[in-house]
Structures are given as C-alpha cells and as structure tokens.
Amino acid sequence: MEEGGATARPRRATGRLCSTCNQRKAALKRPKTLEQICRECFYSVFEDEIHNVIMDNNLFKPGERVAVAASGGKDSTVLAYVMSELNRRHNYGLDLFLLSVDEGITGYRDDSLETVKRNEIEYGLPLKVVSYKDLYGWTMDEIVKTIGLKNNCTFCGVFRRQALDRGAALLKADKLVTGHNADDIAETVLLNILRGDIARLSRCTFITTGEDGPIPRCKPFKYTYEKEIVMYAYFKKLDYFSTECIYSPNAYRGFAREFIKDLERMRPRAILDIIRSGENFRTATSTKMPEQGTCERCGYISSQKLCKACLLLEGLNRGLPKLGIGRARGTNGLNKRVEQRNLRSERTGSNIESKQCGTLDF
C-alpha cells in the first residue's frame, strides 16, 4: 500500500523488480505512491487511472466533438497523446481535435505553437489556433508594455478562458478538455483559501465546469500528479515545449507552488488530500454567493454587469489599466472606479509603471 515519507528506505536498490509485475526491472519510483515500477507497468497504471477517472465521472458521450486545449506544454501534449490513445483503445467514439491560443508573446508562444503544429502531425489531430490579436485587438506583449508586470497574468488568464470558449464554439465542439493536473488544482484550492474567494473555492475542484455555460470543460488529469506527467512524457519521448512564460516570475501562484513542492516531498499523498479537502468544503448557507448572469456587452457568462474580459479590455482601451483589478465596490463599482481613476490620473499624472501596490486578482 502507500508508504509514508517518514520511514527510511534504501534508494535505488539495484536489481529490484517492479512491484506490480514482479518480472521486469524497476525503472522508476512512482511519485504518487513511491512504489518501484517498470516502464510498461507505469504506462499502464498511468493510462488506466485516467481512463477510470473518465469513466467514473462520465466525462464523455460517444459521438461528441471534443477540443483538446493545447499549448505545446507537457500537460497538454500528454493530454492530447493519452486522449487519442484511450479514445482508440476503449472506443470512446470521440471526435478529437487540438485548439491552441496565441497570446502574442514573442519568444515564448510562437515557439510553443511550433510544438503544437508538430503534435497535429504526430497525433493526427486537426489544429485550430485563435489569437488575442484577432479576438481582442491586443497581444500580451502590447498589454505588458502598457500595464507592466504586476497584473499581467490576470489579463492573460481571463482572456485565454474566453478565447478557448470562442475557439471551441467556432469548431462546433461539444466539450473542451484542459490539461489541469492535480498539482494545479491543489494550488488553486490553496490560493482561493488565501484570497478568501469562497465562490471559486466551492467550484475549483469540480472535474467538469461550465455545464450551464457555452462549452463545458473537463479536466481528466484532475488526480494525475505533475511529476508523473513529466515522467510519462520523458519515457515516451513525447515532443513538448518546456520553458516557463517569460512574463510569469511575479505570479502569486508561485508561493503556493513552492509550498506544495515541499509538501509533496514530505508526504506525496498530500496533493490528493488537498483536492479531497476542497471537494468536501461545504459553504455556510448564510454566505452570499455571486449570482450568475450574462455580460451586457458580449453575452458571455458573468456574475457582474460586464464580464471580466470586457472590463479589462475597457480598461486597456481607455488607458485605465487598473480597471477590473482589485475588489469591486458594489454595483456602481465600475462607474465609481472610472471617476476615481479619471480624477487620480489627472491629479497625479499617473505613471503606471511606478505603482507598487496591487491586489491579487485572477
């Protein structure tokens, strides 16, 4: 069964056999359970666990058109590979294709898009690329030039979500799958606790979200460890792009990520435990939750009058980079903020780059 991290065991015992098949030599230690396992058994257990997650949660129906969100990174590359493999092996009957988003980040996204184009050929899945420039009129490079490096991840994340939905709609997809793995979801649970975002906290562990929105999206890798995805890609020699986004160093998520890495070293199952805690959180009936409506401007799903993307775009286009960043103050928050910003920029001749403080928001 599972081994706790506290007991000392000899590492790299030579000649040890795989604990599953007891025939082949163990090639690796499984990050999730620390059991010693050979390559073939690792592939099996990795793929079977994902297959079971898909089955247990009824993620797909035969005949569905499923867009695989592909960035060229390890998660989405492995996702595309495993999805097409399982689709074939277990006859899911899905129509799979790749959907990629071009945020317009030179030296990062243009390189990773090359990887996705290679995946299109390698896995035989048709590819569609949607770009921020086409959808919003701004590239991330232009946005960062305008607002600096403090809240850029907010913009990118919000825009990407909509971009994926719109791309999926263009392709007439029934579902979208993303490569969010167990580590990602555990980080998100922690971040929402740190931010006090009870609304997101109650939703972030759902394996399928947006069922009442334009395109439902699901996360087959919900219980898959990031390390195992890397291992799978490594041993299978899958082609992926492994550089971190050039604008990311200041992301707050880094705090949580570092903590989780330390935690995983101490107790590997802690990542799944965080997810389980997240699933078991029950909101108090007295807690007010935001109501879901639609954006007045673009019709996208939104809990406010304007969806976040429209709000951020408004800010960009009017030279008000803080619009939509930070906490909104009631329903006339938009108007009030716009007034205040106008006053302030007149008064201080605001230099956007010098603003030290900001709040978490994404």
Binding site: V189, I193, D273
Partner: protein
C-alpha cells in the same frame, strides 16, 4: 518587495499612492488592523520618521519619544483597550461565559494563553466589583482556574527545568488577585495511567508506535486536549478556554486542508466547540499572534521559555509558509480565517441549552442548539482520536465494516477519520493491536459498536413498543 499589503484602508507607507478611496465600508476594522499592524512593524514606517513625537490615532495623546514606541499608530493604552475590546466582544456575543460558569484557562506559557489568562482575570475582577456594588448580589461571579500540562515525560530538557517552570507559573497565577484561581498542573502521562511510572512507559510506547512525524505531533495535540478535558471534568469546570489566536487558526486551516480534513475543518475554527464534554471557547480568535506578542511586551507580562523540540512535520512547514505569507501581507492570516468562516459549521459549534439559557438575552438565544431538534442530537460520528466529524464516505465505510462482525480493534480503527488512520494508526495488525491496548481508556470509550446504536434507538421509542422483538438483529 515592499508592497503595502493591499488590505484596503489607509496605508502609511510614504511611497504608496493608494489612499482611502480604495477602502470599502465593509470590514473597515479588519482593514485598519491590517494597515495598522503593518505600520507598526518597521521603525521607518511611521510617516513622521524617527525621533519625532507621534500622536495616537485614537485618543490623540502625544506619545513622548521616551515612552514605549507607539504601537500600530495607537498609544499603549488604546492598543490594550483595542485588544481587550475584541476579547470582550467575542465573549459577550457568543455567550461564552455565564455567571454560574467555572472557567478553566489552558495555560501553555506562551503570549496568547498569557493574555487569555490576563483578560479573563480582568473580566472576573470587573464582575466582582459589580457584584460587590450590587444590592441583591443575585448573580454570582464566574470562577476561574488555570491548567498547565507538564510534558517532562517526553521532553528533551533536563528535569529540574520543569520545577523552575512550575514555580514560575505559580508566581504568575498568584499575581492574579483578588479572585483566587486554582492552579492544576497535570503530567501528560496521567492520561495513560494513574501511576506515574506506568503512565510514562505507556505514553512513550504510544508515541514510538506512531512513525509519521506529523502524526506524532497531532497525536500529542489530541492527548493534550484529553488531559485538559480530564482536569476540567475532575474539578468541576464548565468551560475550557483556549488562547487560540488568528495566527494559530490560520495555520490550522491550511494544515487541515493539506491533511484532507476539509469536511471537519469548519468545526475547529469557530468561537465555540461544544462537541467535548466541557465545551471549548476561543475568545482570542480575532487577535493575531503579533498583536498578542506586542501586548505582552508592552505590559511586561512574564512568559515561559519552554524548550521546543525541533520539528520536521507538515505543521512546521505550514507555519513557515504562513509566516512567509504574513511577511508579504500582514492581513493574510485574517483572510484565511475568514475564508474558513464562510464554510458551514457543525451543530456542536453552538452551546447546548442549559439552565442558564433562560437568562441569556433573546438576541443571543440563537447561539444555543435546540435540543428538541433531534437532528442535532446524534448527527455526527466523531473520530475517537481527534474528534473530527466523519465525512459521508467515511461513515459509509464504517457502516460497511460494522455490518460484519469485527473485533474491538477493527471497530475502533473503522471509527478513525482517514487522516488519523493514515498518520497515526500503525500499519500492520499486530502493531495496531498493541497500540490499541496501550491507548488511554478515555480514547477507546469514545467508540460505540454498531449494536449500541440500535438499543439507543429502542430507548427512544420504548413508550410505543407493544412487543419487545428480540429476533430483529438487523441493526438498521
């Protein structure tokens, strides 16, 4: 990274351009606390700079340069009043202490429990004065006792250190006059056995069989609570008061999440925890460790210097994580606790109705459970080790096991929550059996076997039963 923390409200950092317009009306006090506690941190943070006279932001008194440095923009007196105000508000809003209560204060020697003791003492003095002055003297003044757990049986420090510590505690308690406070010093091994030597052996055997470092620490924590409960029960106390502050609770929120205890977490972070025989109250829940430390320093309150054993557990990892977060933003601890507050508490987070209930103002009656509502009575199954309510899947697997015949050990293990099962219970049938035999009785009696539930149900409907049916052994 000298960001101002972004908690809203006024920021005193000179280069921060945020101003009051960003502060919302809601939660203003919290935000003020955030900016206040940050402003007091570094010597360079005050707007007026070093050496200049500062004004208390509340009473306007000029704090002379020679006086203790103005804390958080408040003078020492106002800061003290502010913390005491939070304490008193928590006590009164949650009907924590009634005149007929005997309150046991758990004292660890750290700043939080020291302040808890001090504030309870002051409340008691005020009540005493009122009682003296009142003609009828109808309502009595609540009693206060102090409990300290002597952990020398498992500590790494030399034995004579503990005698010094105990003498120190006695002197601290004796300064809290006029109302006399009984001091109870309980060795931790007493929970295992009344004989000290036997207790020591059993306790060490117990701890040795827990191999996980975090499990060992948490197990000690549960034994401490059991010891406190025992002291309270044996000496007629009706409430147990802990000094748990915002910082402790924030760490607990994160560590419980990390251990998979998301279901039971809300029960641990409320003001009142009535699942124990002697209900536990946390009046310092809204004060941060930093504030409490500052007050101890200002008032020159004596603290115990207990040797802390080095820790390599998840709890210490979480502590350093929260400390890093706090450095980046001082109001983060408060936000973490507030998130947990938005989760659904349990029925045991309210007091059970008692005779005093009738004297409670009607606006506070909601703080009491309605006993007649049968849903509250037996709704949660609690883990015998940590007291956590079991989640639905855990209860289901317990019932599955209870349907088959099992030994007391198997029944006990099935009642444990998944976290305790993983990090505390030894793996392997033999070691588990051994563990079970050495466990304190106060732990093992908390477990019912499936059959007693059935007879309890029978008792409830006894009046209406016409025939006593002994053949029905279904248990459901």
């Amino acid at each position: 990274m000298a960001s101002c923390g972004g908690g809203g409200g006024e920021c005193h950092q000179s280069h921060c351009q945020r101003s009051e317009e960003d502060g919302g009306a809601e939660e203003e006090t919290r935000e003020r606390v955030a900016s206040l506690s940050f402003a007091g941190d570094s010597p360079t943070s005050s707007a007026t700079g070093d050496g200049a006279l500062e004004r208390c932001t509340k009473c306007g008194e000029t704090v002379a340069a020679a006086a203790p440095r103005a804390v958080n923009g408040l003078c020492a007196a106002c800061f003290r009043a502010y913390l005491f105000g939070k304490f008193k508000l928590a006590v009164t809003t949650n009907a924590m202490i009634s005149p007929t209560d005997n309150v046991l204060v758990a004292f660890s020697g750290g700043p939080a429990s020291r302040i808890a003791l001090q504030f309870v003492h002051e409340m008691q003095c005020i009540s005493l004065k009122n009682w003296d002055a009142s003609k009828s003297q109808a309502l009595p003044v609540f009693g206060v006792g102090v409990a300290f757990i002597d952990e020398s049986a498992i500590s790494i420090g030399p034995l004579h250190e503990m005698n010094k510590v105990i003498a120190q505690i006695r002197s601290i308690v004796s300064t809290l006059s006029p109302a006399h406070k009984e001091l109870h010093i309980a060795p931790i091994e007493n929970i295992c056995s009344t004989s000290s030597n036997d207790g020591r052996i059993r306790l060490n055997e117990l701890l040795d069989s827990v191999t996980d470092a975090t499990g060992k620490e948490d197990f000690m924590k549960y034994l401490r609570m059991l010891t406190l409960q025992k002291i309270a029960l044996d000496n007629g106390y009706s409430k147990l008061l802990l000094g748990s502050c915002t910082s402790t609770i924030a760490c607990h929120v994160i560590s419980a999440t990390v251990k998979g205890q998301g279901y039971s977490l809300p029960g641990d972070v409320q003001y009142v925890d009535a699942r124990w025989e002697v209900p536990v109250v946390l009046p310092l829940r809204d004060c941060t460790a930093e504030e409490l430390n500052k007050l101890c320093h200002l008032d020159g309150l004596e603290l115990l210097q207990l040797i802390k054993r080095p820790s390599n557990s998840i709890n210490s990892l979480v502590s350093s994580f929260v400390a890093r977060l706090r450095d980046e933003n001082p109001s983060r601890e408060r936000t973490i606790v507030r998130t947990a507050e938005k989760l659904r508490p349990f029925c045991f987070n309210k007091f059970v109705e008692n005779t005093y209930h009738e004297f409670v103002p009607s606006r506070l009656r909601c703080k009491f459970q309605n006993i007649n509502n049968s849903e509250t009575a037996l709704s949660e199954v609690l883990c015998p080790l940590c007291g956590s309510p079991l989640s639905e899947p855990e209860v289901q697997s317990l019932r599955n096991i209870q349907e088959k015949t099992q030994t007391p050990v198997e029944n006990f293990a099935a009642h444990c929550c998944q976290s305790c099962s993983f990090q505390i219970l030894p793996k392997g049938a033999e070691s588990l059996q051994q563990f079970y035999t050495v466990l304190p009785q106060s732990v093992t009696v908390r477990v019912t076997d499936g059959t007693s539930d059935h007879s309890q149900l029978g008792e409830l409907i006894d009046d209406y039963l016409l025939v006593v049916d002994d053949d029905d052994d279904d248990g459901t």
